[in-house]
Structures are given as C-alpha cells and as structure tokens.
C-alpha cells in the first residue's frame, strides 16, 4: 500500500476525484429521478450518456476543423458542444421512454419486464454506435462521413479545447482548470435541477407523482407527461455529464456507457436512490474514495474500491447515505 503517494498528492487526488464524482452524480440523477417516479431502474440510461459523448465529440470535430481556436472561439465551441450533447441525450432519453417503456407501462407490465426491455434497449443503442460505419455504408455515406464514423469500435479522440493548464495551486498541489470547470458546472446543474423540481409546476407534478401516483392523477397531473419530463430531465443531465466527461477524458467509445452507467447507478444507490441530493452526495463520495483507493492500492483496484464501498455503506445504511426518496424531498 502506497501511503506516501496518497498523502503527498492528497489535494490533487481529491480534486480529480471530485471531478469524476461530479460526472457520476450528473448521470446518477437520471437513474434516481426515473426510479423516484416509476420505481424502475432505467438500465439504458448509460447509453443516453454515451450518445452525449459522441454528440460532444462530433460537434467539436466539426467546429474546430483543422484550425486552432482560442479565446472567445473556444467558448463558442464549448457552448455548441454542450448544447449538442444535451439535445442528443435528451432525445435518446425521450425515445427510450416512448418505445421501451410506455407500451409496457400502459399494459401494467411487471417491473421485471421493463428491466429486461431496458437491458435490451441498452445493448441495441450501444451496438448501433459500434457498427455505425456499416450503418453509414447502407446509405452510401461511409466515405463522406469517415471522420465521424471511422474506427467505430475503438477509442475516438477529441481535439483538446480546454488547455490542461494549472489554474491555481494549493500548497504544492496543482489544481487544473478542467477539473474546476467540471466540478463547478456539475454543482450548478444540480442546484438548478433541485430548484426546478421544488419550485416549478412541472416539478411539483413530478414530486406528487413520486409520492402517490393515483392521488397525483386526481389532482389533474398528466402522468404520461410527468414521466416524459422525468426522462427528459435525466437525459439533459446525462448530456451535461457527457460534455464534461469529454472535456476531461477527451476520448470515447461505443461501450463507454457500460462502466460509467454502473458507477453512476452505484452513486445513486449510495446516496439513496430516488433522492436528488443523494445522487450528488453519492457521486462525489464515490469519485473521491475511488480515487484515493486507486492511489493507495494501485489503479487496477479502482473498481474494487468503488463496489466494496457500496457494499459497506449499504450494510450499515440500506437506504443509502441520505435515504429519503424524491417524493419526500422537502422544501
């Protein structure tokens, strides 16, 4: 065990851990909101994230071209990439709701059936991205789109738009700009979503449906619309997560959603599934502990640390760190 490495780099490890954690937390929101309203684990949510990473990648490639943007241009590209990721992820989430869930919910299918449908949808979406060059080929676009569809099953890299420079130092430790952007934007999005769910009419409808769907319907809440909004909000947050992930990691792949999805789901359960603030807490705790753990035991222990943490916390607090459900979240 490498204690000295952990202690010598404690601040830096914590900050990069928080950055990972912020991404987990944003994805976790999608799991936790859908669970809060439908008591259903949307296993295809990882693919909602994955499509967002590609939207970021392709928008950036298109806008950067062969140039070398700087200053205001960089900011414009980042905004466009973020928007693209949110639109694409939001759209995928809405499609999942419409095609993979709504027909089952309408027929009152058991939750287990919806779970299987989600796993199926997840593989279809991931593999579709994995064979995208073939799909482009069917339409005769394989050559034209080569920058975008080539190398479908290997890592794709994005041009570096945020210089990985040091922003400031705490003692001897360097805090990088990209980490600060990731953490701050994630927290900003969380606060925004939290306020939206607590204050807006749609938010009240979502909370009411989570607490008691039948009574919510008696109040005049349109449950189909509430479910759609829940998927959409989760999708938008996954889009933001995808953008931030690409800023930090800069590469993506058709199956990138799998591990991140499981980690984010872990974060949601860790914080207390169904609870928005729990997703934030769970994500940050998971990111930081995992990063410390991999410094201590070595990188290959990263996932072991994450899941051991989950098991240990659930042994002592079966409802997660914050425990309360979305419905019971108070003003």
């Amino acid at each position: 065990m490498n204690f000295s490495f952990l202690f010598n780099n404690f601040a830096e490890l914590t900050v990069t851990g928080l950055a990972f954690g912020a991404v987990y937390a944003l994805i976790a929101l999608g799991y936790t909101m859908v669970y809060g309203v439908l008591q259903l684990i949307n296993f295809a949510h990882s693919e909602v994230f994955m499509y967002g990473t590609f939207a970021t990648l392709w928008m950036t490639i298109t806008l950067v071209g062969s140039g070398n943007p700087g200053g205001l241009q960089t900011f414009g590209i980042m905004a466009a990439a973020l928007l693209a990721a949110m639109v694409v992820s939001g759209a995928i989430a809405l499609m999942l709701e419409k095609f993979a869930y709504r027909p089952l919910i309408k027929r009152n299918a058991p939750r287990l059936i919806a779970l299987i449908s989600a796993i199926g949808a997840s593989f279809v979406l991931a593999e579709l991205m994995g064979v995208r060059d073939d799909v482009a080929g069917w339409f005769g676009l394989r050559e034209t789109l080569d920058d975008y569809v080539g190398g479908a099953r290997v890592n794709q890299s994005m041009p570096n738009i945020v210089q990985n420079r040091t922003l400031f130092a705490i003692g001897e430790y360097n805090i990088r700009m990209v980490d600060v952007i990731v953490i701050l934007s994630a927290i900003l999005m969380m606060v925004g979503l939290d306020q939206f769910v607590r204050r807006s009419k749609t938010g009240r409808g979502i909370r009411a449906t989570a607490q008691d769907p039948e009574t919510a319907a008696l109040m005049g809440v349109n449950s189909t619309r509430v479910i759609q909004m829940t998927f959409l909000l989760g999708g938008l947050m996954a889009g933001v997560a995808a953008f931030l992930y690409m800023l930090k990691i800069e590469t993506t792949k058709f199956d990138v959603g799998f591990l991140l999805g499981i980690k984010a789901f872990t974060a949601a359960v860790l914080g207390g599934i169904g609870n928005l603030r729990g997703a934030l807490v769970g994500g940050l705790v998971l990111g930081v502990v995992e990063n410390w753990g991999s410094a201590l035991f070595g990188g290959e222990w990263r996932h072991v640390v994450a899941f051991v943490l989950l098991v240990v916390i659930l042994l002592f607090r079966p409802t997660g760190i914050l425990g309360e459900s979305l419905g019971k979240a108070r003003t």
Partner: protein, 239 residues
C-alpha cells in the same frame, strides 16, 4: 343531472367489483353511496375520476360522455376528489398540498386564487395555523381536512368525498360533516361515499345502498334513514 352513471361495470381482473350500477347526482345536492367494506364504493369513485377502466356502461358529466377521458381531463371539467385514506402528499407542506389541488388552474397569481385559499382556511382554521407544516406529520383529522380543502382548490363543480369520517374521533366526525354541508350550501355538488351511514343519510338529499357491487336501494336520505331494514343493516338499530 350534473352526473349520470348508466349501467357501469368495473372489473379487477376476473372479479367484478361493480355490476351494472346506475344513478344520478342532481346539481346543488349531496348524494351518498353507503355500504359495507368491499361493496364497491371506492371503486365507484375511482372510476368516476378515471382511475379505473370501465368494462361497460357510461359516465356523463353535464350531459357530456366522459367515460373514456383520462383523470386530468376530468379534473379540468370540474370533478375533484378527496381520496380514501386521506391521500395527502406526506412530504409536502400544507400550502404545497393546497397548491397541488389547484394544479390544473392557470390563475395561481390571481386574487381569485388567494380567495380560494382563504376560503379553505375559513372552513378549516387549523390549516392556516399549520400552513408551513409537512403534511405527513399532522394528525389524522388534520390530514382529512387538508384532503378536503385541497379538493376544493380545484374549484370543483362536483366534489367526490371518499370516507371523510374514516378513523376520526366522534367530535371530529360531527365537525367534518358540518363542513361538508356548508360546502354544499356554498354551491358545490357533493357525492359522498361513507361507512358512517347515520351521518351520511342525515346530510344527503339522495342516497344509494351498495351491496357487493350492486345498488340494492335508492331513495332520499330521510327515506332510507327511516327504513327498518336499512336501520337494521347499516345503522346498528338506532339513529
């Protein structure tokens, strides 16, 4: 007739919960459905609100066929329900619960809206004292008041009340029924489902007795309250 129910049948799987029931509710009156546990009273109200699928029959509101309308459309038309077991939102405050009752209204910033809140507070002064309290932490009687007040916030034409006296102390039961009469006198039509037959018959203009999913007797409240067989079966022999 404000509400007309014709030959309504509702199933739970293969079990018939309601069989071919027909009744009407005249505008401005209190109508009641009484009967034992499992007679189909709650199912009837849930069906009127659109929460249960109809196997056969029709429901008309103001002459319009609403049998196939989703619940939220019915609330917009003016059918509001205070559900059984109080059904308040436990994690929301009193004010938020009342806001939920007005979910379909678009005039939440208006004077009319504030007047309606005031009206609820006048009917239930307790609610005003507790406006910032989380509803799940209130007593049963207070939750019941909140559920009725919340249903009023939709400005209903027809108020459906499911067992408003359930689990309440006798003093409170008197009070709740007094308030129901008051609400009716202010112009809201009420359809009341009750196990407390004595109180319900005393307040209702028309009454129907449900037994295992069928209406077995109908009449005015006073008629049924004075009937010997009704007395024996539902009123414990003395009123």
């Amino acid at each position: 007739m404000l509400l007309e129910v014709e030959g309504l049948c509702v199933n739970y799987g293969h079990i018939e919960a309601i069989r071919d029931i027909s009744f009407g509710v005249e505008e401005g009156t209190i109508a009641t459905l009484i009967g034992a546990n499992g007679a189909g009273k709650t199912t009837t109200l849930k069906t009127l609100s659109g929460l249960r699928k109809v196997r056969a029959g029709t429901v008309k509101f103001e002459g319009k066929d609403i049998t196939a309308l989703p619940p939220y459309e019915r609330v917009k038309l003016g059918i509001s329900q205070s559900p059984e077991g109080r059904g308040i939102f436990p994690g929301m405050t009193v004010t938020e619960n009342l806001d939920m009752g007005a979910y379909v209204r678009t005039d939440r910033k208006s004077a009319a809206y504030r007047e309606d809140v005031e009206r609820v507070f006048t009917l239930f002064p307790r609610m005003e004292e507790r406006r910032t309290q989380v509803a799940g932490t209130m007593s049963g009687g207070e939750q019941q008041m909140l559920a009725i007040g919340r249903a009023l916030m939709a400005r209903p034409r027809l108020l459906l009340l499911d067992e408003p006296s359930m689990g309440l102390a006798p003093m409170l039961i008197q009070q709740i029924f007094g308030i129901i009469t008051e609400i009716n006198q202010q112009g809201t039509t009420v359809l009341l489902v009750e196990q407390n037959a004595a109180q319900a018959l005393k307040r209702a203009h028309t009454a129907h007795i449900l037994e295992t999913g069928e209406i077995v007797r109908s009449g005015t409240g006073a008629e049924l309250a004075g009937d010997d067989s009704v007395k024996a079966a539902y009123l414990g022999g003395d009123v």
